[in-house]
Amino acid sequence: MKIKVIVTPKNGVLDPQGKAIQQTLNSMNFIDVSEVRQGKYFEIETDLKDEKDAKKNVEDMCKKLLANLVIEDYKIL
């Protein structure tokens, strides 16, 4: 089973890469873009058969490794 996770910078945490992407998009004439936040996307292949168990396990992984909860939020899709 494949579990998908998105990790993004928390609101209020400076995201200089997102800012640079936004400025570049603006300079490419995408003038409607007012903010970009850059995150990470993970696809985790697990041997567990039960989706609930697998998601619970992935949640543990997020807390312990995949996200730094001081600066990032995670979302299991």
Partner: protein
Amino acid sequence: MKSSVIIFPGSNCDRDMDVALKKFGFKNKMVWHNDNVIPKSDLVVLPGGFSYGDYLRCGSIAAKSNIINSVIEFANKGGLVIGICNGFQILIETGLVNGALLRNKYLKFICKNVFVKANKTQNKYFNKIKKDILELHIAHNDGNYFCSEDDLKLIQDNDQIAVEYCDINGEVSEKSNPNGSMKNIAGVFNKKKNILGMMPHPERVIDNCLSSNDGSYFFENLLSNMK
């Protein structure tokens, strides 16, 4: 005094640290990250570099390596632990010190000498140091210190800010902040102040033939406070 420097895959300041520690009189041992136990030590150093290629987040993979449990145990017993640059990032990822280190504000890898002001109160690292405005070297991409407002209040109330970026006269201002760090923070202590994490590299400036000799004050002072 005995010290141990941990080597992770991708560490590149481990040997500089070994040279510096030995120069000032430490009996130093190099310890591989895959070992489970640190040799008997008075000081443990997590060196700078790019452990595990900075994959995922700087320091995050090294923070889960075999040796880290014994480093945490050593630190929790009050042992002195220093993390320099990537070592600071590893300390952050283990949770031994508060906060996070974000990408530098202007997205540039910064490699230059800076001045930092040391906090001399109640810690073995800077107490009685002969010079408290130090010219040290920084070389990092992710040194932009960040923590929550609550954590900032905690570390301020407990006097845990160890070093701040400043100018040659010791003035701490936005102008002397190289990377966007909150409150110009270049390094922090844990609550008990036996753990020091900082971005600047004292081990790179330990001889007059180098760009600064101010790292010498740091090591000399630390050794004399440990005796």
